[in-house]
Symmetry: C2
Subunit: 438 residues, 2 copies
């Protein structure tokens, strides 16, 4: 196997045994990038010398017996997340040349664990919907999805085994689905957003892309640390060690309020999956309070965007992509009353969801309306993700299905709050049971 | 001493020793109410038979060895807090005759502790500013303050030793000051609001009126219990047992951003107090971020009121007092952006306040602009309280000062988050050191 195709776990095992150096691993990833970047365009900043210097330091640490849990593993970072040694431009010309003084907390945690901060991955403008330059590695005429476009594409194209993205609507799991990789949006409040450009404190979730569930767990164990600088952190965030599944998980197949926006090939593929899983899955409807879920997420997100991006808009509207400016304009008229009504309605949904999970280990539902659309001027529809983001429960996309053109389609798996480790076990169980998309 | 003048603690001691029955205590309070209610008008609902039946049950429990920590103690309940056996009308004709099915959590906790739910105390309409019928017991031409008007007046006038109120702006500590009693607005999220008419989930605090700091601690130990039905509860609310003060507390006298709204007699009285305390107090200015504190509280409160009372307004504007309707109208145009900006600015103040408390045990600052105003159509100015409510730190009013007409003026004492027990120790220390107002 090409070195660049190794999972983080496999690469760590080989580095531990002395069979591979971090320099070799990073060089293999750099070679892959050099070969493919003209097509995929996943990176907005990449300094090979800086990456190799970090790799050499990692090799030295390993010789010194100081190797952390991600020692020498290259990780791509979405460009809304601050790095002290690399620019962070938020996908916006308004932030061109911006150089933060300090690392975001999650970047600092990765460095402490020994990771190589490989470079900055393309994001849509401020993690909304105005696309960057990235193309889908499986078909460059198609969008990679967004907003974590470069992070998903880089992992899918074997440029890095791990990348960090974020999700406020569908910015992790939609690109995971479109690119045929795993994506984890962990439980709300488990990974610090300090040093990450905010859209909505209520909705923003950092997340992890990888090519195996186990690599997501590995990164999650490093990243889920309480940080007082993020006021919305849970008290005891943790990626636990889930008990092994001693029996098949009890799954509920949920079409959900966005089902009508799905494409026929996706609908048939996931219904077929549910059928194939037989007794391990039952069909279920969400409680009626979810009928308002799409509108509710939209209201919270728009109201928050009016606040978070309002200052950029006020300063230089023309400097924003019209897609971004339009989103701010939709957010500005949202009243506190509308915003609070939506927040409280979301709590009712969260309560109802807690009851729904009685006797259910995980929900299966679409991760995206279908294959990646064949266009580069938009990033696709987040309707299948936004309301789950609003729920705060951990959600993953598992690359199980194939669409009409042979492109990947993800299955979204959702577990109760805090059960991130169990979620990843179930992702593994599904991948073993039905096989990945290829 | 008249039985109705006993503190809860003293009454409990006498009941424990068999020297007093709950029926005698409740009857003494009912006699006091019968004597004074025409003047004070503290109660919106009072059923002597219901109170006496509860007293008899309490006496039976004591004989059975089942007496809880408040067994037989009569407690007044602000009429925005639900009681299953008594009406709860929220001070509004829109809720006339309303009979809740269940007790608010805090009422249920009081009952579990053996308290006698004496009756419902007058509130302003929906705990905003439109006055009810209550008059100041020290001068019936003056307001008792609001919104917890009846609760404060009933305790001040020896009708009950304890009463429950609430504060969103200055609805606990202003009436405590005007009526010459103790009031405690505990740390945010320590007493459940489930079953209490909401104004702002960010700001609403149930609170305790009493005639001694020890009685507030007694009630606080009963009431500070986690309740999943209030989503904003702290994880481990508790009225601890504070260590005894082994040295004088280190106090900071703070004039604060509302100082200019104070009256001359209040300003002189509290400056005199600070001087008299000598080395135990130093003057200090709040950090500059507090310059916006009054506006910030107003924005959060107005935005929330537009949401919480909006449905009443939409249904029957004419049924609201014009003062209430005006407040809703001020809240309706508040945007999500303005609301969120204010919330995040308040967090900066909270951070700055945490630093301010380095080397300071408690802040002394005015509890009100001066004596209770000589009017019954308004309830006075909450400017000295609202921004402390926004901070969420525990705050008490201590009846130490006297105004130009001999009316009481409270001193507001504030401790860091969670230090409610220490706050009450410091209230006791102050009362012993300088004496109460009378």
């Amino acid at each position: 196997m090409d070195i660049c195709r190794l999972s983080a776990e496999a690469a760590l095992a080989r580095m531990e045994s002395g069979d591979l150096s971090a320099r070799e691993l990073v060089q293999a990833c750099l070679d892959r990038i050099a070969e493919r970047e003209d097509t995929v365009r996943a990176w907005t900043f990449l300094d090979p010398d800086l990456a190799l210097a970090q790799a050499d330091a990692a090799d030295q640490r390993r010789r010194d017996g100081q190797a952390g849990p991600l020692n020498g593993i290259p990780v791509g970072i979405k460009d809304i997340i601050d790095t002290a040694d690399q620019p962070t431009e938020n996908g916006s010309q308004l932030c061109a040349g911006r150089r933060p003084d300090t690392d975001a907390t999650l970047v600092a945690l990765l460095r402490q664990a020994g990771a190589v901060i490989m470079g900055k991955c393309v994001t849509t403008e401020f993690a909304l919907s105005a696309p960057g330059k990235t193309r889908n590695p499986h078909d460059p005429a198609r969008t990679p999805g967004g907003s974590s476009s470069g992070s998903a594409a880089a992992v899918a194209d074997f440029m890095v085994p791990l990348a960090i993205g974020s999700q406020t609507g569908g910015s992790m799991l939609r690109p995971a689905s479109f690119n045929g990789v795993y994506g984890l949006k962990p439980t709300f409040g488990t990974i610090s957003r300090a040093g990450m450009s905010p859209l909505s404190r209520r909705l923003d979730h950092p997340g992890i892309f990888a090519r195996t569930p186990e690599d997501m767990a590995l990164a999650g164990r490093v990243l889920m640390q309480r940080d007082p600088a993020d006021k919305d952190m849970r008290a005891h965030p943790k990626m636990g060690e889930a008990d092994p599944l001693t029996a098949p998980p009890r799954l509920a197949f949920v079409r959900g309020p966005a089902w009508g926006r799905g494409e026929a090939d996706m609908q048939q593929a996931i219904e077929g999956l549910a059928r194939d899983l037989g007794d391990d899955v039952r069909e279920a409807d969400l409680p009626p309070v979810f009928d308002a879920a799409l509108e509710c997420h939209g209201m919270v997100m728009n109201g928050a965007v009016g606040q978070s991006l309002g200052p950029y808009y006020d300063r230089d509207r023309a400097g924003l992509d019209p897609i971004t400016a339009d989103r701010v304009e939709r957010g500005r008229p949202v009243t506190a009353r509308e915003y609070l009504d939506a927040l409280y309605q979301a709590e009712e949904m969260q309560d109802a969801l807690a009851g729904f999970f009685d006797g259910v280990d995980a929900i299966l539902t679409p991760a995206a309306p279908g294959q990646a659309p064949r266009e580069l001027t938009r990033t696709g529809d987040a309707s299948f993700n936004g309301y789950w983001t609003l729920m705060g429960a951990p959600a993953a996309s598992v690359p199980l299905l194939k669409g009409a053109d042979g492109m990947p389609i993800g299955v979204q798996v959702i577990c109760p709050w805090g059960q991130d480790a169990k979620l990843l076990r179930i992702c593994r169980w599904l991948a073993d049971k039905v096989g990945e998309w290829r």
